[in-house]
């Protein structure tokens, strides 16, 4: 049995007249330490898959097993990095991470240890210089860094990232991708990340899960990315294997799963 097991998940939403089938028969097995990205067109239900794994949403049929235990409610073992960072604006950068640390390690760590752990995680994402700033006073990229630190600080079994860099400008996004690879090299987390950026998917992933268009979206193809790590985006730009993977994903998205609304 694999580490994280998504098996035959259907998600059906009630709508005004009848039901909307968002996902049908979504199955995926993830090994410990794997970095998986899920890519697909808008509205294909990528985020729905993530929400089911997070426990924020119940599958209509099928289910999710994490270390052979069924997932049916949210919890810090499946920390989420939300697309729009969702830091609490009345708490400082430090407090935003500390609230998670206190909640998860309130009983197992002393106060001093929890402080050190909070600062340690903010150092991982290079935000130790802004501990006392409020989220309103830092840039979008920095907020997302803090969001990642908050998720990492929970020491999740699976780190879930819902288009974490989707709202950022290209330069900041590239910089954050570097940070994620750097952290992944150290911590070797199991990561499930949603993206709509082909380069991001190829650069970061061990496997890319390509989803078909909704309604009744499902896993279309899974692409194994065998590029050696550490990966360097400058070197990869001219790498034939990299460009091959990139082309594979593009082919899937634009030939086999043309956007229904794209002319």
């Amino acid at each position: 049995m694999s580490y994280l097991n998504i098996s035959n998940v259907d998600v059906v939403f009630p709508i005004v007249n009848g039901t909307y089938i968002a996902l049908r028969e979504v199955s995926l097995e993830v090994e410990k330490g794997e970095f998986i990205t899920i890519i697909g067109h808008s509205g294909c239900g990528k985020s729905t898959v993530l929400n089911v794994v997070a426990g924020l949403l119940q599958a209509t049929r099928g289910g999710v097993l994490l270390e052979n235990r069924e997932v049916n409610s949210p919890g810090p073992d499946r920390a989420v990095v939300f697309q729009n960072h969702s830091l609490l604006p009345w708490l400082t950068v430090y407090e935003n991470v500390r609230i998670a640390v206190d909640k998860v390690f309130g009983k197992s760590k002393t106060k001093a240890e929890r402080h050190d752990w909070t600062v340690h995680n903010l150092k991982l994402v290079h935000m130790e210089h802004a501990l006392d700033k409020l989220p309103g006073a830092i840039s979008g990229g920095m907020k997302q860094r803090v969001g990642i630190a908050r998720a990492l600080a929970m020491q999740p079994k699976v780190l879930l990232m819902d288009e974490p860099f989707g709202a950022l400008d290209a330069l900041t996004r590239a910089h954050l991708q570097e940070s994620v690879m750097e952290i992944q090299a150290t911590l070797n987390n199991t990561v499930l990340m949603i993206t709509h950026d082909v380069d991001e998917a190829v650069l970061l992933s061990d496997r890319i899960v390509m989803m078909t268009n909704g309604p009744a979206a499902t896993v279309g193809e899974i692409l194994q990315v065998d590029l050696p790590r550490p990966r360097n985006r400058l070197e990869l730009a001219d790498d034939s294997a990299y460009n091959h993977y990139r082309a594979e994903v593009l082919r899937f998205l634009y030939e086999r799963q043309r956007r229904p609304d794209a002319a």
């Binding site: 939403f13 509205g43 929400n51 997070a54 939300f82 969702s86 998670a100 380069d199």
Partner: protein, 317 residues
């Protein structure tokens, strides 16, 4: 509830970024810092500061002058109309000069006490403020929890909203007879009127604040497995606080407007009855002075609430 979240995330618009490759540049963190600063600061006309500092001081002086001159001009227009009314329509309205003389008299000795029927304007204002604060405090104590319930529970919202909508526009003075009947005394009746008219902004704004809490904050709470009490203390209250304070600010200014009218009817010591009393004495100059005082106290209350609001607004702190 969770299904609603998922629907909205599933149908979220995504920018079409699939074709553009990520740039092959590794930027440094400085990009972020300047971006943050750009967002928060208005663009500074750099050319001007560097080349012509003199003209910049001059524009600042001009701005200050305008800030003083333009309102002064408005006051002058009002004084002109006032003098015109005095000269052409009714000489019962005193001239601005007469009003000024009266103001110096009244405000020169605001805290004299010559028995319950003859007290300085300072006392009158303090008595009124006392009633306002009592009614306002009651409105806040009752209104915030009610607003919270209405914002948090659909059922409570459906149950209470029509009542709130019906009672909210009712003129404050319509409540006075009810108050007098219930309490058989003028002070509690006045406080009751303040309470019943100033509670609505608190309720409506608190409820709106709770409803406006982004689902993301609640999702964070769910992932962290915060308990009900923790969610209230760590998420709901801080997230709603700016709305609550807006409600309180509106409520307080309503309360201060209402007290004058209520006191004119109930009597007793207070700025409202002072106005009524001076009217009966045909002492119009005193009324004009009182109008000025009421306005100034109103500004004072408003700025205290503004200060509180700024202090708790995490976006501007």
């Amino acid at each position: 509830m969770s299904k609603v979240i998922a629907l909205s995330t599933a149908t979220r618009m995504e920018p079409q970024r699939l074709e553009t490759p990520a740039p092959m540049i590794v930027p440094n963190e400085q990009v972020d810092v300047t971006a943050a600063n750009r967002e928060r600061q208005p663009p500074v006309p750099k050319m001007e500061t560097a080349i012509a500092p003199v003209s910049r001081t001059r524009t600042r002086v001009a701005a200050v002058l305008r800030a003083i001159l333009l309102p002064a001009l408005t006051f002058l227009v009002v004084l002109a109309i006032w003098s015109f009314v005095n000269a052409k329509i009714t000489s019962d309205i005193p001239t601005p000069a007469e009003a000024w003389t009266r103001a110096v008299e009244v405000l020169g000795n605001p805290f004299y006490d010559a028995g319950p029927n003859d007290m300085g304007i300072g006392w009158q204002v303090l008595y009124s403020l006392g009633r306002v604060m009592a009614g306002f405090a009651l409105a806040v104590v009752v209104g915030i929890p009610v607003g919270f319930l209405m914002g948090a529970s659909r059922a409570v919202h459906q149950a209470c909203y029509p009542l709130v909508q019906i009672l909210r526009p009712v003129s404050p003075l319509a409540w006075l007879p009810i108050g007098l009947l219930i309490f058989q005394a003028k002070d509690p009746s006045a406080i009751f009127v303040i309470f019943i008219t100033s509670i609505w902004p608190v309720i409506v704004n608190t409820a709106a604040g709770v409803q406006a809490i982004p689902q993301d904050y609640l999702n964070v709470a769910r992932v962290l497995q915060l308990g009900k009490l923790e969610v209230t203390r760590r998420i709901l209250i801080p997230a709603t606080l700016p709305h609550i304070l807006t409600g309180m600010r509106l409520s307080l200014s309503v309360a201060w407007m209402v007290i004058v009218a209520a006191e004119m009817l109930t009597g007793g010591i207070g700025i409202g009855f002072y106005v009524w009393d001076e009217w009966n004495n045909l002492n119009v100059a005193s009324i004009i002075v009182a109008i000025g005082v009421i306005g100034l106290v109103g500004i004072l209350l408003e700025s205290v609430m503004n200060l509180a609001q700024r202090h708790f607004d995490y976006n501007r702190r």
